[in-house]
């Protein structure tokens, strides 16, 4: 009798523990959701800048059309599986993602570490890295509206493009784009922002990131038309996960099975750069010297 009471008590305690965990998780999701929305709304204050970006995206999109279409035609109408229509999809989706996938290496938290405003971030009951990345993702998601979607529409209407055969490509593509955005934010945090705990000036890292990331992410040409060694080098970095894979999935260049594999690769990269960023943040706190009083 006594034993069974004990067991009931333990079960109750375990149940209460689970309930508490559930509440905690719900609270955490609510907090980061708000921060995501805040990032989204902050970006909406800069609509004019977004339209400026769209104009630039479109101009460079047309430039890419001229160069890459000529390349495909010179190769006899097909190059590494790309015909003109599929190349067009690649061009306009990648141009559209340029406002959302961070290939420039700029991130708010890097400036905040530099000028000492990061002190305020440390005063909140939040994980500094997670909050910074969530904010960036929120801003990026907003940019899909004035830059991402119009870019694809303009390309589709003016140049024409191939659409995926399988409806699942749209859903998997959307998930992949979200992952690509998050991976880019987490990587910029890792490579450009976190070193700021040790270095006063991180502009060099930002420029290095900008130069390398666009190329290896497949912004200029699909990484599949790289020489084999360079393609393998690219795939050893998180950059194709930011743009090349999402474009491949949503354009239907890869089938559903391959899409799932690419999504798994993306998840692995997100976990990897996220974990490294977390380690650097923890180590960096000991070095933090808040600048400017």
């Amino acid at each position: 009798m006594k034993a069974s009471f004990g067991r009931t008590g333990r079960n109750l305690a375990r149940g209460a523990g689970r309930l508490r965990l559930l509440f905690l998780m719900r609270g955490t999701i609510r907090v980061y959701w708000r921060i995501l929305v805040a990032g989204f709304r902050r970006q909406s204050a800069y609509l004019l800048a977004a339209f400026g970006g769209l104009v630039a995206n479109t101009t460079f999109g047309l430039l890419k059309v001229a160069i890459l279409f000529a390349t495909v035609r010179a190769a006899g109408g097909e190059l590494q599986g790309y015909d003109v229509a599929l190349m067009s999809t690649y061009i306009w989706v990648s141009q559209g993602l340029l406002g959302s996938v961070n290939l420039f290496g700029r991130i708010d938290i890097a400036d905040r570490i530099k000028d000492g405003d990061v002190a305020v971030d440390f005063l909140r009951p939040l994980d500094v890295q997670a909050a910074a990345i969530t904010t960036e993702v929120g801003k990026s998601l907003f940019n899909l509206i004035p830059r991402g979607i119009p870019s694809v529409l303009i390309g589709g209407l003016v140049v024409g493009m191939a659409l995926p055969d399988h409806p699942a490509s749209y859903l998997l593509g959307a998930v992949s784009i979200l992952l690509g955005i998050a991976i880019s934010a987490a990587t910029v945090y890792l490579v450009v922002a976190a070193p700021g705990f040790w270095l006063v000036e991180t502009r060099g890292l930002q420029i290095l990131y900008m130069v390398v990331s666009g190329f290896l992410a497949g912004l200029f040409v699909p990484i599949w038309i790289f020489p084999k060694w360079l393609e393998m080098l690219a795939q050893a970095t998180p950059f194709p996960s930011m743009m090349m894979y999402p474009v491949d999935i949503i354009s239907g260049r890869v089938d559903v099975t391959e899409s799932l594999v690419l999504l798994a690769v993306q998840l692995a990269w997100l976990a990897g750069v996220g974990a490294l960023g977390q380690v650097l943040t923890r180590a960096g706190r000991r070095h933090l010297e808040v600048q400017g009083g």
């Binding site: 708000r34 921060i35 709304r41 002190a119 440390f122 005063l123 009951p125 000991r286 808040v290």
Partner: protein, 318 residues
């Protein structure tokens, strides 16, 4: 005996500073030991670079101490940073915790979510703060368009939204006009009265200290130089108040009035300045003595300023 809300023992923080090619070590906070009880209102004063902000950043878990221990609200600030953040509200006069591009109201909503306030608690507290800090007129304005006075009120509300037990203010009235300062002080007095909040503030403004604090800590080159109340501080440094009188006729220097020292005259004695020790006499008595010699047209009383008090303390220690 209750548990102190802040307790430090031998708290020390060094910074490495590059000086040309050499690197040298600067002691920003040096072996600081202090204890603050719940409900106290403490003014933390000292010259620029004395170590005030560094102390605050160690109390709140932003900076990691080089040596010594610190406990805030019963927690270890660095290890328990996120738990501590729920119990402490901090205003850095020169840094914003609001979302620059968003309306003030939106910042409050985000902070309420961050601190996990229930919808009812959020509404009640927001309403209270909006009323007490008179923020209704600019709730919908993006933060970047606020005046400094408005922004500081919003900053104060943002730091206090989660009803922290301990409020730390780092130069909260810097750059504000007299009226805005007055408003913020009144708010803080009311906040303490209703919620029993503990207050720790750094300032260069004697008015802040006089109206808000019942205990003063003076820090000098990272070390504690004084710990006590305001009258005690004035006694220690002999800080004098100054009576300035404008007279109807020019007369000789007003020397020989008990408890005063003649500082100077202008306009052939039409305006004269007398320093007096508030412990020895009163402004009224000095004025009465002056009135016996000449008709007084106008007068002002100058309070000892904080720089002056701090300078005297520093001088006495060197």
């Amino acid at each position: 005996m209750t548990e102190p809300i802040i307790e430090t023992t031998g708290l020390t923080r060094e910074f490495k500073v590059r000086d040309g090619l050499k690197r040298r070590t600067v002691l920003a906070v040096d072996d600081l030991t202090l204890r603050i009880e719940p409900g106290e209102a403490v003014g933390y004063i000292g010259a620029n670079g004395a170590g005030k902000s560094t102390t605050i950043k160690m109390l709140t878990g932003i900076l990691v101490p080089t040596q010594g221990s610190v406990t805030t609200c019963g927690l270890r600030p660095v290890q328990d940073r996120r738990r501590l953040a729920r119990q402490v509200g901090v205003v850095f006069g020169q840094r914003s915790q609001l979302w620059w591009d968003l309306p003030v109201r939106e910042s409050f909503r985000i902070l309420a979510a961050i601190h996990d306030l229930s919808a009812a608690a959020e509404k009640e507290r927001t309403d209270e703060l909006v009323e007490r800090l008179e923020m209704a007129e600019f709730l919908g304005t993006p933060v970047r368009q606020l005046s400094l006075g408005q922004r500081m009120r919003a900053e104060m509300a943002a730091a206090l939204l989660h009803s922290p037990r301990l409020v730390i203010l780092d130069e909260p009235t810097i750059g504000l006009d007299v009226l805005s300062k007055q408003r913020l002080r009144e708010f803080l007095v009311a906040e303490r009265r209703t919620h029993g909040t503990t207050l720790l503030l750094t300032t260069h403004d004697m008015g802040d200290v006089e109206r808000l604090c019942d205990r003063i800590l003076v820090i000098d080159r990272g070390r504690l130089a004084y710990d006590g109340d305001l009258p005690g501080l004035s006694r220690t440094v002999g800080a004098e108040r100054v009576l300035v009188v404008d007279l109807a006729e020019s007369i000789e220097d007003l020397t020989g009035i008990p408890g005063t020292r003649h500082l100077g005259s202008e306009g052939h004695g039409l305006r004269q300045r007398l320093a007096f020790d508030a412990e020895a006499t009163t402004a009224a008595r000095v004025l009465a003595s002056v009135s016996e010699r000449a008709e007084v047209l106008d007068l002002t009383v100058e309070e000892p300023d904080i720089e002056d008090v701090v300078r005297r303390i520093y001088a006495a220690r060197r």
